[in-house]
Amino acid sequence: MLNELIPLIWIIAKILVILIPVLIAVAYYTYAERKVIGYIQVRIGPNRVGVFGLGQPIADAVKLLFKEMILPTASNPILFVIAPVIAIAPALAAWAVIPFGDGLVLANINAGLLYILAITSLGVYSVLISGWASNSKYAFLGAMRSAAQVVSYEIAMGFALVVVLMAADSTNLSQIVLHQSGGFWHWFWLPLLPVFVVFFISGVAETNRLPFDMAEGESEIVAGFHVEYSGIAFACFFLGEYASIILICAVTATLFLGGWLSPFQGIPGLEQAFAFVPGLVWFVLKTWVFMFIFLWIRATFPRYRYDQIMRLGWKILIPVAVVWIAVIGIAIQLHIPPWFT
């Protein structure tokens, strides 16, 4: 009996080693967001709780935990409670296949990229269910908008991933990273540059972030699909959203910036000088770059109009991705070095 349980306990221990840093990253990403946007807007951001305001995320979490969770009379109570759980569970579970370093992956499955695509698209269910179950006009409008938008950008994202698969020959995320080895110029960001941009913009739209946050649109539909949520249920949506942002950044780093590979690979001198840095550090640094860009975008761009969002998704991103499928296909047929030998 005990012998059968040991592998399970070992798996759970490994999951916690991934999960706890992810949750801490989510908490401090909200802090970083307020600080970075604060400085971009020439404010100083939160600085009251603890040194430099570092206690702020913990104070927020404790506050939300002790707040009443309102269950509106008009709502459908079961769906209303299920929706925040669906918001947070896939955003966390997707981390199972992310390779943090050479061999540092919980489940090294062959269909890794498909799993990411499948589980991140579950997020739209939480939006639809919460919007429907709240039985509130703002929530309903927000849910409709968000569902149509997420679904539209998922096509662009899907085509972008197809191009990555063509270039990498595998759906296994570790294999995709290893296929990019050979230094900075061998990473997929260069041969797949248009697709890289399409993927990242789709990622911003998928997570309902500014400038694509029509689903929330504070100034018109107050908070969109989670307008009726309070206390910890709201916090679940919040955690889920930030966990998916960090996930998108990690996936972008894995697919286009060579994951855990050192940027100094192939440069004599520098490669040896930085050989002691573990792959995990490079992976985290690359993810941070994209996380910062997310905040930068939020602080810089005004919100799009809905027809503009749909036009960008359908008429620009999808055609670009489709054209690049043909371009990369031809490049593979012609064996263009160094990427498609």
Binding site: L65, F66, K67, E68, A74, A87, I88, A93, V162, R311
Partner: protein
């Protein structure tokens, strides 16, 4: 083979447990003093004056249908993309014919105005 996927199942279960656990824990320790005003749907402070189950714009429905079409086509592309290096020029050109048909359909719906929102 399937043992590789078992940790994922455990991870999904733990993800659900995190969400559910937070809500149950908060339910136990947070105050719960409902009243009729607090539980009414939010509508900027006014009483809600009609049912929230509004009819919605048919364009959302159209987007959903187009999504199913294109997502299926992406699903066709995925296995092809993985074996592209092995199937050579013939495999590549076959898929380009398929892509061409897809593009013709895309241009058709574009010209028909299915992608317009104004």
């Amino acid at each position: 083979m399937l043992t590789n996927y078992f940790p994922i199942l455990v991870f999904i279960a733990i993800g659900i447990a995190v969400g559910g656990g937070l809500i149950i824990f908060s339910r136990l320790i947070a105050p719960n003093k409902p009243n009729a005003e607090k539980l009414s749907p939010y509508e900027c402070g006014f009483p809600a004056f009609e049912d929230a189950r509004l009819p919605f714009d048919v364009r959302y429905y159209l987007v959903a249908i187009l999504f199913i079409l294109f997502d299926l086509e992406t699903a066709f592309f995925v296995p092809w993309a993985v074996v592209l290096h092995k199937i050579g020029l013939y495999g590549f050109l076959s898929m380009m014919v398929f892509l061409l048909i897809l593009v013709v359909g895309f241009i058709y719906e574009w010209k028909k105005g299915a992608l317009e929102w104004e």
